[in-house]
Every structure is written in structure tokens, then in C-alpha cells.
Symmetry: D2
Subunit: 286 residues, 4 copies
């Protein structure tokens, strides 16, 4: 048995006394060894958020039994909850256009087994990155998008996502706007990297906007995609210093590094069950 | 004579071949020892920007003569230029309301003689900070502002600025909007600290806006004040990480530290002649 | 009653199953409302660390009773523990020499009531900062130190610390080395700011050392003082970028800002009971 | 002709009046259009450093003629100088062991043509990374190193470096110590990435050292290799925050990202002629 295998319980519920006691009492009763634990009480929403990593081998039963036994507690507190298993790798479907820095970065992290995800396929509206992706043994699907074919194209994207049993759709600098029905079909399961420090410079050509405004830092934002463009819950952000000597192409170059880093961190938090939705915001247990 | 005394020449002009040669040739001809030199050519505006610090004692003549001798070069290249003298301290008029973290920080830097400015007086629409300011031997002027008295109040501000021979008006968390005629009277001479990473969260209560949006970093912006609220040329910015556990009051607390740091850096750049205006943007020779 | 008043329970003990369940079960049984909770299991030392903030008014009894009721749990698990009360402000004795940037910064944070500490007195080996300190209404004690008077001087420091019922002794750029008996008398209760990113540049004149080595970042370290100079457990650190154009005096100037920030953060963590000792290292629940 | 082609003049010499005037006068006389210019006067060494980028097409003659014409000025001021041509790509020989994050990062930047270098071959003491490198069409040379074969192995490294006409040897996490004769053969031409913030944690297993000391930030250092292990002139450094919850393997993971970033920036500065040696330190004109 894998001595490092962990079950991760992530939950939220209306805040009240006794949640931690109930959950930790339950785990202790079954000899569950807690490896990592995080809590958060949000005053604005009056909700409580919790994440527990339990050593799998410390329990006398399997994941299904854990889930079955936990149901009464979940129901008593009105919990929104899930348990994941570190032995089951998260299945990511990557979407890209022509920019390949995030793709290269994520494929490297996958090769290095940096965290628990697999890239199960890549979907693109261009054929430019096929050779590099296929060298990794990962299927590459060309799904061109034109104004006329857009509905059909995204139906195909959803079909491929289903076929590959994707857990999460990652837009790694995919330069098309997803139609609302795709956003609606995968709530909290589409992760995008936007190349600005949102809410500044939403929409098109953010580096040109940043250059025109003369800001002294540029940034990137990893967020969940909703039907409201660039306004979904933010998972992770970062910034980097620029100055008057930097042209738009320099911002683009610096930006690539910050986009890669922010997407990689945001995706890791998401894959490891560290991100819980709190209305239009996120709780991120780093 | 002060061996460290320096003259600082800052200029901009339409870009062409020979500007550096003309200026450095002029300085070399008079044995001017260049301590620090910075250049920038802006492609968008086709203007050239330059800053030179010259050791005063390396020249055989004084500042007036330096200015007189430089006129032909300035005219030949259509330069917008100024020469300042490190022996003449920059005269800052500080405006504050009730928040005193930037005031405390700048008064400390003044006491420590961290860079070449004096706080010649403090103007406030409240009397709360009088004792602390007066302990430093600095005059404190209460100029209350109400909707009715606003024009008269700002006429008084301008009068005080003139009386104290101010070089720069610094809004150190002064919570009133300056009327357009004050902005127009002191172009490039009013420095503000805004408590957000502009252009995000312009206007009122930026920390509340940031909390509501769920951003993962907050920031501050030091900029020149123009009649267009929070849209003047940016001098300096910075950001600091926050997370879901931080309430608005935590953002305010972290924000104070970043506001202090950003205003102090921005003001130093301004006082040392490191900031040149390039239309709606700045060139900052750090 | 103060609706925001909190009791903070901080503990460590040998790691085993059931610690969280016991503590949270105990709190839930008494209707204790947990505001903030943090855990850490250290594999190297096989110890478990925990910090809980409980809303005081959620409990039906007072702090003494809380402590009394908790004893059986603490004994069952072999806990090293303490409970503090946010209504009781932490008593800081500040020591300084001539450099006053950290002093100015901490006195401002005290005036602004930024976190729960009072500066109960200032002790210095120079008289230079008396006027500024006394303006705040804080007693200032001159205790000169020479090689001959050192033992007597530090006996006086300990006497003053006792007289003022100090909780923590903060060396805010106090440029004397504490004798071993002072370190031994106040284990985990002396906080120092060192002006380098330890372990680089321990000892004297760290900015000169940094300049000589040509590093591209400088830093500061807040740590507990032990008899082993500059080797005590690290609480907080940070760095800032410098370059070839910066002389030693520039490093000193940048360094002041980073020292202030690092000491203020480190002291806040300490005062709020967020720092737990783990042999030669610290657990810091931010 | 390439409108963006640039000649870069980098020089240092004893400091005196008239250097900038002589160089910029020379360039102006030949209608040289200066795109970027940087100066630095080092008081400690009394040397002056300068870098100028000139638009190639603004000159009426070619690079050889530029060099020929500049000789009298260089001799008059005792300059140490070089002129490079952006049309001639810098030839990098990469050395790696088993860790491939820096390799992957640099090969990506090469594919993306992010700055002016080619990876002309990869040399490794292991065969693990051959397939990935060869997919890029880059020759891969296995040169095993054992205590007995070390002299022969490094003679082969130098032979390969010569055969491929390398400009710079980059140790991208190459885990062998170069013998002094290799260091001596390529002064200022070997660039290493060390996985700590030097001078802290020089030598072996720096992340283990950092974990043991309990530092709150870890870092990486890009430096020139000299015979004095990990003590060569520093080109670039950076740090990233860690905390008590991070094990050695977490430090390694965070460290990979900071190593990649620091090596990439340091190599870009080197390739673009932005790094000038100043005894045991560097001047880096970013």
C-alpha cells in the first residue's frame, strides 16, 4: 500500500459551533491520521470552509466506506462536500491556440510529476502545436472555430471532454471566448489564465492596455470561467515590475513568465482540492 | 565646498542623432564629472529623455552660468529642460486628513534626512494631527472643507502653498478631491497616493472594492494629480499578497504599509528629478 | 462585553491521532466559537502544533475556568500550552541604540493600535532618542554600556524588564550583544531584528559584507535571541532588490525599510501567539 | 537589411572626465542612432562602465569598420571593450545531469526565440535527457564522469565546446564540480545556477541546509564560475517565500521555479552583453 496516499475532504456549510469537533471526532474515532488541516469562517457569507488531508492507510476501510460513513455528518450540518483520493490522478483537458508557453510549462510539470494531474488530451483551434504535444504521447485534437462553426465546434469540445472523462478544462491561453452553454455545463471546472491583473485590463490585448496606461507593474490572473467574461472567481494572481523602457513586446515577454507561474499555482491548488467556491470569490487553502 | 554637491540636468526633446554627444560634449568641455546618467528614447512619442548628475565642484563656474551656457544647446534641440542643485532642498507642502501613516512615515524620512526635501508646512481639513506635526517644529494649518466653503478653502490652500514657496504639494491620504483649478495651477507638481493598484478600484473605498472582488493581491499607486480623478501619470506602484482570511480591516492594515512605501519612493524619485513626464505617462530614472 | 474579545490557545505536543478531536470536542462541548484555527504536524520532530482563536463571549465561563477545564486534556496529550486573552495587551520593552527607524515604526504602530501591544518603556545605551520617546508619554531609561559596566548594565536591564512587568524584550537595532545570562533568563521572549538575510552576513556590518560580495538582493531577519549570536530561531525574513549602482549607504537606506517591515510583522506574529518554537526553528501561523 | 539589427558596444576603463563625450561624439559623427545607453561609475574600483546599443542601419559602414574606427578611442582611454552584433546569435553549450527543469525552460525560450541565443549542443554525464533534447534537433553528448575519468572527461568537454564554437558554457543544474583548468580556460564564459541565495548554503544539498536552518525564504543564484566554488561574481538572484509547512521536497519544488527564472534572466543579461565584470562583482545593465 502507498504510505503517502491521502484522502482529501473539502467541505463548506453554514457556520455554527461544533463543525470541527464533529469532523475531527469522526476522523479520530476511525483512527484517521490528519496530515494537513485548514479552516476558514467567512463572516460575509456566514459559511464555514474546511479541508482535511487524511493518511489513507490510517483508516481501516476504503474510500467508498469513508464516504458512506460521512453522509450523516454532512447531512446534519448541510455540507457541500467531496472526498478525493491522491491515488486517482486529476484528468485535465488543455485548450490552446498558438501561444505555447503555458502548454510547455504544464507539460513539463506533468512529465516531472510535480502534482497529481494528467493531461489527457489537448484541444486547439490551430494545428501549430501538434508535433510537440504528440511527442509526449498525448492526443491532439484540432477543432477550428469560425463565427459560423462556433456552436458546432464547442459541442465537439464538450464531446471530447466527455470522451476523455475530463475533470477540468484548462484554457492555457486559448484565445476564443467560450459560449455561455459551455460555461454553464462545467461550473467550477473551467480554469483560465488571463494576462492581466484583474479587474484591470479585462478583455482583449491587456498588455497593450497596460502599456498605454503606463502602469509600473503588470500581472496575470488565474480564475474560474463563468459566462461573465473575465469576471469569474479569482484563484491566484501575481505581478512583476516593468518600467518606461519596456515596450509592449517586453511586457508580453515578462508576462509569459508570470502567466506560467500563476496558472501552474492556480491549477495545483485546484487539483489538490485547495480551492473552495464562496459565491463570487474563492477560499484557497495553500 | 560640499564635495558631494551635485547639479542635476533633466531634459526631453524630439529624438534625433547627436543629443547625447552634444550634452556630454558640453559637459566634458567644461570638465563636468558625470556621477550618474540615464537615457530613454520613447518610440511611441518619438521623444528622447535624459538625466545627468554632475559633481558641482568639477565645474569652474556656478549654477547660473551653467544654465546660461546650456541655453544654445537646449534651443538647438528644442529641449524641455531644468537644472536643480542638491544643495537646495525641495520644499514639500503636505496635505492630510485623519489617516496619519503616510504623514508619520514622511516626517520620519525628513528627520532622518533620507533624501533632499523639507516639509515646510502641513495643511489639513481636521485638527487631529496638529500636536504630532508641531512637535517637529513644522507649522500646521487647519483648512476645513465643506461643500459651501470648498472654493474658498482651496484658494487658501493655494495661498499657503505660495506663502511657503512650495515646490510640490503632496496629498498624503488627503481625502478631498482637488478642484480642477488647483490641478491646473500646479501641473506636474501635485503628488497623490491612491490606495489601490490603479486602474483597478479607482474612486472611493478601494479596499472595500478589492475585498468584494476577491483579488489575491492589493496595491497602491503614487501618481501626479490631474483634473481627471485617479487617472494622472503613474510614478510608482506596488502590490502585496492577501488571502481569503483577510477582512477589509486587514486589507486596510496591509495597505497602509504599501501606501507608505510607494509614496516615499515616488516622492523621492520626484524630488531627485528622476521623473519626466511623457504625455500621460512617466519616465522614471531609478 | 467586548464582542471581539478572543482567547487564543496555542499548544504543541507529540503527534498522534485524536488531538484535534479532543481540543475541538472540548471547545464545542462548551459552545466555544472558533474564529481562526491552524494546525501543523512536523515530521522531523514528530510534534503537532495548534492554535485556536475562540470568541470569548461564546463561552459561559472566564479565562481562569477555561484554563482549569483544559488541564486534563493538556495532561493526557503531554501538551506544552498557553492561553492568552486579546483584552490583555502584550507588554513590550524596547531596546535601541542610535538608529531610530524601527523605534519610529513601532511607536507609530502602537499609536495606531495596529495590534495588541504596548511599549511600556524604552531602554537605550544613548540618550539621543529620549525626546521623541517621552513625547509619547513612554518612560525612557538610559543604561550606558562599557566593557567594564556590562554585567551591571544588563542586570539593570533585567531589573527594569521586571519592574515594568515586560512580556517581551525587543531589540530594535540595539547594537550591543546581550550576555548569555540575559538570553538564558528570557528564553523565547527576546526578539531581535538583524540587518541581513541570515544565515548570510551574520555579525557586524552586514551591509558592508553584502556590498563586498556583490549580492543582488539584501534582506533582514527577525529572530529569537539565544546565546548563539544571530543563530536563534527565525520568525520572519524578507529581501529587496539592489544593484551595482547602490553604494553601502543605499543598502543601508533600503535596508531600513525592510528591517522595519520584518520586525513589525515578526513582532505581530509573536504578540498574537502565532509563533511556536520547534527546537531551533519556528512554526508561524500567519 | 534588418531594421532592428543592433551593434552593442560594452566597455570599461579607468574613470575620468570625457569618456561619454568621446564615445557619443564618435557615434554622432557617424550618424549612429543610440537605441539604449547605460553608464556606471564604480567608486570602489574607480572604473567606468558603459553599454550602448546602436541601430546597425544608421551607420554607413559595417561592424569591422566600426571596430577599426573605434580603436583610437579605446586606446586613448585604456578601454576593455567589445562590440557584438544582434544578427549573430550567441552559441550556448548546455551541461546537465538528471534534473531537467532548467533544460526544459531554456529549450523553450530557444524555441520561442525569446532572446538571441542558440543551444548548439547539450553535454551530460547521464543519458536520461537524450530523447527530449534530440527531438529539438540538438546534438546530445554523453560524457560520463567518474573520479578516475574526470580529467579525460573534462578535456572532452572542452574539446566539444571548441568543436561547436561555443561562446558560453551554461551549467543548468550540472551536478559535477568543474576542475580548475576548465574554469581557467573560459574566464567569464561559464554561467552556473546555484540552488540557494548565496552566500548562504553554498556547497551540497542547499535545500536541506535551508530546511534545517528554518529560513522563511529560499533563493537561487546565477553566477560566473571560478575555481573558487560558489564564490564567483553574482549575475542575478531571487527569493521565494516558504514556511514551516514546507518539507525539503516542497523547497525543491518551489526552488525549481526560482532556479529557472534566475538562470533565464541571468543568461539573457549575459547574452545581450549587459553584464560587465568588476573584479569579483558584476555590473548588470538591465
Amino acid at each position: 500500500m502507498d504510505a503517502k496516499r491521502r484522502y482529501t475532504l473539502a467541505l463548506s456549510c453554514p457556520d455554527r459551533v461544533g463543525i470541527v469537533a464533529a469532523v475531527s471526532g469522526f476522523l479520530a474515532q476511525h483512527q484517521g491520521w490528519i496530515v494537513e488541516a485548514s479552516h476558514h469562517a467567512d463572516y460575509a457569507s456566514a459559511r464555514f470552509f474546511m479541508r482535511q488531508e487524511i493518511l489513507a492507510e490510517s483508516l481501516a476501510f476504503d474510500l467508498d466506506e469513508l464516504r458512506r460513513l460521512f453522509v450523516p455528518i454532512a447531512e446534519a450540518f448541510g455540507m457541500d462536500w467531496r472526498v478525493t483520493d491522491s491515488a486517482v490522478r486529476h484528468r485535465v483537458v488543455l485548450m490552446v491556440s498558438r501561444e505555447d508557453h503555458c502548454l510547455n510549462d504544464l507539460l513539463y510539470r506533468w512529465r516531472a510529476r510535480e502534482f497529481g494531474f494528467d493531461v489527457v488530451c489537448v484541444i486547439s483551434n490551430h494545428d501549430a502545436l501538434r508535433a510537440y504535444v504528440e511527442w509526449h504521447g498525448i492526443p491532439y485534437h484540432l477543432v477550428p472555430v469560425t463565427p459560423e462553426t462556433k456552436p458546432k465546434a464547442f459541442a465537439e469540445v464538450l464531446r471530447l471532454f466527455g470522451q476523455y472523462q475530463g475533470d477540468t478544462l484548462v484554457l492555457a491561453r486559448y484565445m476564443q471566448i467560450l459560449p455561455p452553454e459551455v460555461c454553464a455545463a462545467l461550473p467550477g471546472r473551467i480554469v483560465n489564465i488571463h494576462h492581466s491583473f484583474l479587474p484591470s485590463f479585462a478583455g482583449a490585448r491587456p498588455y497593450h492596455q497596460a502599456y498605454a496606461r503606463g502602469v509600473k507593474l503588470i500581472g496575470a490572473t488565474c480564475h474560474y470561467v463563468t459566462a461573465d467574461l473575465d469576471a469569474g472567481p479569482i484563484i491566484e494572481q501575481d505581478t512583476v515590475r516593468v518600467d518606461h523602457g519596456d515596450f509592449v513586446e517586453d511586457l508580453v515577454r515578462y508576462g509569459r513568465d508570470i502567466e506560467k507561474a500563476v496558472l501552474a499555482r492556480g491549477l495545483r491548488y485546484h487539483v489538490e482540492g485547495r480551492v473552495l467556491l464562496d459565491a463570487t470569490k474563492t477560499v484557497v487553502f495553500r
